[in-house]
Symmetry: C2
Subunit: 204 residues, 2 copies
Amino acid sequence: MQEKGLLIVLSGPSGVGKGTVRKELFSQPDTAFEYSVSATTRLPREGERNGVDYFFKTREEFEEMIRDDQLLEYAEFVGNYYGTPVEYVRATLDAGKDVFLEIEVQGASQVRRKFPEGLFIFLAPPSLLELENRIVTRGTETEDIIKGRMKAAREELEMMELYDYVVENDQVERAAGRIKSIVIAEHCRRERVQHRYKKMLEVD
Amino acid sequence: MQEKGLLIVLSGPSGVGKGTVRKELFSQPDTAFEYSVSATTRLPREGERNGVDYFFKTREEFEEMIRDDQLLEYAEFVGNYYGTPVEYVRATLDAGKDVFLEIEVQGASQVRRKFPEGLFIFLAPPSLLELENRIVTRGTETEDIIKGRMKAAREELEMMELYDYVVENDQVERAAGRIKSIVIAEHCRRERVQHRYKKMLEVD
């Protein structure tokens, strides 16, 4: 029987740099997991491409996906929907490949309920001040949006409880390296590999 | 309060290459843990140095250490004692540094009882045949010793149950890399870092 892949879920407060870390991971040639592209109703930022960064959907299209149960998780965040199409995730895991999701914290807790055996990684800011700096220097948001995000971030940090690992995003290459280490380590967990060695003992 | 270091225990069947993997790990400049040198009554192999590879002891000296409770663990294996002096381990962990032990499987289960929170890594051969090849090509043992070791290896593989991680020693640099990844991942475990972030939430 084909061994199933790992479901790797990267989440964390808005503005912490999930997308940057994910891009760093997937720019490295030895990254051996498949990226699951999310669907969203928010407008593309400069340089974002449909089907690569997100599947950009209208609100009507997105709500149809919800009704048809085509989403592993979805969340509404700052007025927009974000979600993960389920079909690609299941097919890739069944083929024995690891799947990587980069999603908002609301969505991550939905995935936790459906895939408790998944690998949940919380990307954390070095400090809340640092988080604020990052949001401000993005330079495209009003002060009210920033304040709202700070409040959300505090709530989201409390959600850390649901995760297996916490990776501090002090520096993007280091954060990506830690995530790769976590995936390598999880593949070495005794429960996961034990059955292979039990076979060796049966054959003399 | 100073956060304690991790106790990392590498063990596995005799002949699997624990010493070679340990040497590879400690030859790399970015390895950030301290090696705990074992004590033994076996004779030095060519190139082994006292205080670096082992503390070489007489049987009388070793039994005195046992009586004085100076050993974290000890085992008798193929007619010789092997053990870990406890003082260095406790002092290094208390100073917040990770300590690395490379020990026989008998000893590892003693350490598990005393340090259940330790990180236990089982170094496994790619196959029992491969294990046999390695022992034979070392070229210094009789056939009876080899047969005895094969039997021991099968028993030791059954001991895998006690470990957190299994690292296959298919290739020494890869095995060392996996061990480093496991240590990095363990430092990111949520339980371990959560209290740091809780502090951030208390301070507004």
